[in-house]
């Protein structure tokens, strides 16, 4: 398979970014009034809708009677250029579930469940990372107690250069890539998903680049939450008569 470059002679990627730049982040909260928390999240051209229902009554019992977390990750049929039927990825759903399980305070609400539904309506790379970011925003919008704000980014290597926040053309092929999730922008990972083959010496550089990108994404998510909280405070504020 012929390898093609995703950056030009000036080391600028084909969408105009440098190797360590993340894409523009856009968001809108409260899309679904029936859901406890919902957000429309854009990271560049990747568009994700996430809805969170919970905590609510559960018929399913977990060991130790903790809160049951159910995550669904689905890619719409019109989301990518390939002709595909709507797919529900079990593997990505489990990764999302494991990330959120380590962040939600499960013992606070025994015998309840939290349902997180992520739908990618346009997939332009970094699909799982965008879903984790969107789910994190939606959880905070729902008022569910969490240990912090989760941010995630997808990083890869092309010809020795480490690129962060991959888009669709960079994700293709069997180039090595990782999805790295951190909490509150700190330099500790809470989830790493690693694909394809990578030399052991390059792994540390990749993870460092992932941490740097996560700090930037966390700054954006934090702004988003502050804006939303101000907006909600304005709605709820009542002058005592």
């Amino acid at each position: 398979m012929k390898r093609f470059n995703t950056y030009d002679a000036y080391q600028i990627r084909y969408d105009g970014r440098r190797f360590d730049q993340i894409r523009n982040i856009n968001f809108k909260f409260g899309l679904y009034p029936h859901a406890d928390g919902s957000v429309y999240y854009e990271q560049g051209c990747t568009k994700v809708i996430c809805a969170v229902y919970g905590p609510r009554q559960s018929r399913v019992r977990t060991p130790d009677d903790l809160c049951f977390i159910n995550c669904q990750f689905s890619l719409s049929s019109f989301a990518t250029q390939n002709k595909k039927k709507a797919q529900r990825s079990m593997e990505a759903g489990r990764l999302l579930e494991r990330t959120l399980k380590s962040v939600i305070d499960r013992s606070a609400y025994p015998k309840t469940r939290v349902d997180v539904f992520c739908e990618i309506i346009q997939g332009d790379g970094s699909n799982l990372a965008s879903c984790i970011n969107a789910a994190s925003l939606a959880l905070v919008d729902a008022g569910i107690p969490v240990k912090g704000v989760v941010s995630a980014v997808e990083c890869g290597v092309t010809r020795g250069y480490i690129c962060t926040d991959l888009n669709n053309t960079e994700v293709r092929g069997n180039a090595p890539k990782i999805v790295l999730a951190t909490l509150d922008g700190k330099r500790e990972s809470i989830m790493v998903d690693y694909k394809n083959c990578l030399h052991i010496n390059q792994m540390e550089r990749m993870i460092e680049a992932g941490f740097d990108a996560n700090e930037k994404i966390y700054a954006c998510l934090r702004e988003a939450i502050l804006l939303r909280t101000e907006e909600l405070r304005k709605i709820v504020a009542v002058k005592e008569l």
Binding site: P55, G143, I225, L226, R228, T229, R233, K234, A237
Partner: protein, 225 residues
């Protein structure tokens, strides 16, 4: 050749806040509120390594030494004595399970309901069989919170003002808009009645004739044909 540098946008203040609101501190999950030695952590916070960290996004409230964070939008969390409007989802052996837009379903026991006709007597086995004739799945009921435990919310509908609801209109709003007041049952000046339940469900009833309210919405024919 131009290079565009992107990052988080600087926040402008598009909302006007009152003077009293300026003092309220808004926090984000994961942000440190204060150190561990001076305060205790309440709802919406947890103990970090050496300090108290917020777990929801909201305003910080301090009562003596207790720090809590109140989220502006969340599911209804019941307090004892709250008036709520709920929808019956299940009829079990001696109780009804009621959906009240909270973390768990409410339980309305047969013993905590006043029988139609207004009499208070011990419920017999026949009353158990007749539970469905009074309320079944899909019916709306107005009740009061009796007791709140970690896994169950007990409701009671003993007095005549509580019980099954008849014809009317249900409007759902966010529970954080409903403040606790002396009374939640109001009569509008043109005859309609309104119930502002604490779980965010508002019930509007058309002007009724006196007969309906006395029986609590249950009619039973005693005629022998």
């Amino acid at each position: 050749m131009k290079i565009e540098i992107t990052g988080p946008i600087k926040r402008t203040k598009p909302f006007e806040t009152d003077k009293e609101d300026e003092d309220i501190k808004i926090v984000v999950p994961g942000s440190i509120i204060s150190n561990r030695t001076d305060f205790m952590s309440g709802h919406g916070t947890f103990y970090g390594d050496e300090d108290i960290v917020a777990s929801v996004a909201g305003s910080v409230r301090q009562v003596n030494k207790l720090l809590t964070v109140q989220p502006f939008k969340s599911r209804y969390s019941p307090d004892v004595g709250d008036v709520i409007v709920g929808r019956v989802v299940e009829v079990q052996q001696k109780r009804w399970k009621v959906d009240i837009n909270s973390i768990s379903e409410g339980t309305l026991a047969l013993a905590n309901v006043s029988l139609p006709g207004g009499e208070l007597r011990r419920k017999s086995a026949e009353d158990e069989m007749r539970m469905r004739m009074y309320m079944e799945e899909g019916d709306l009921v107005v009740a009061e919170v009796l007791n709140v435990q970690s896994d169950a919310i007990q409701l009671q509908a003993r007095t005549l003002r509580y019980g099954k609801l008849g014809q009317g209109l249900l409007v759902k709003v966010s529970p954080s808009l409903m403040k606790r007041r002396k009374t939640h049952f109001h009569d509008l000046h043109f005859g309609a009645k309104i119930i502002l339940a604490r779980n965010g469900w508002v019930w509007i009833e058309p002007p009724s004739d006196g007969q309906m309210s006395a029986t609590g919405g249950y009619t039973h024919s005693d005629e022998v044909s």
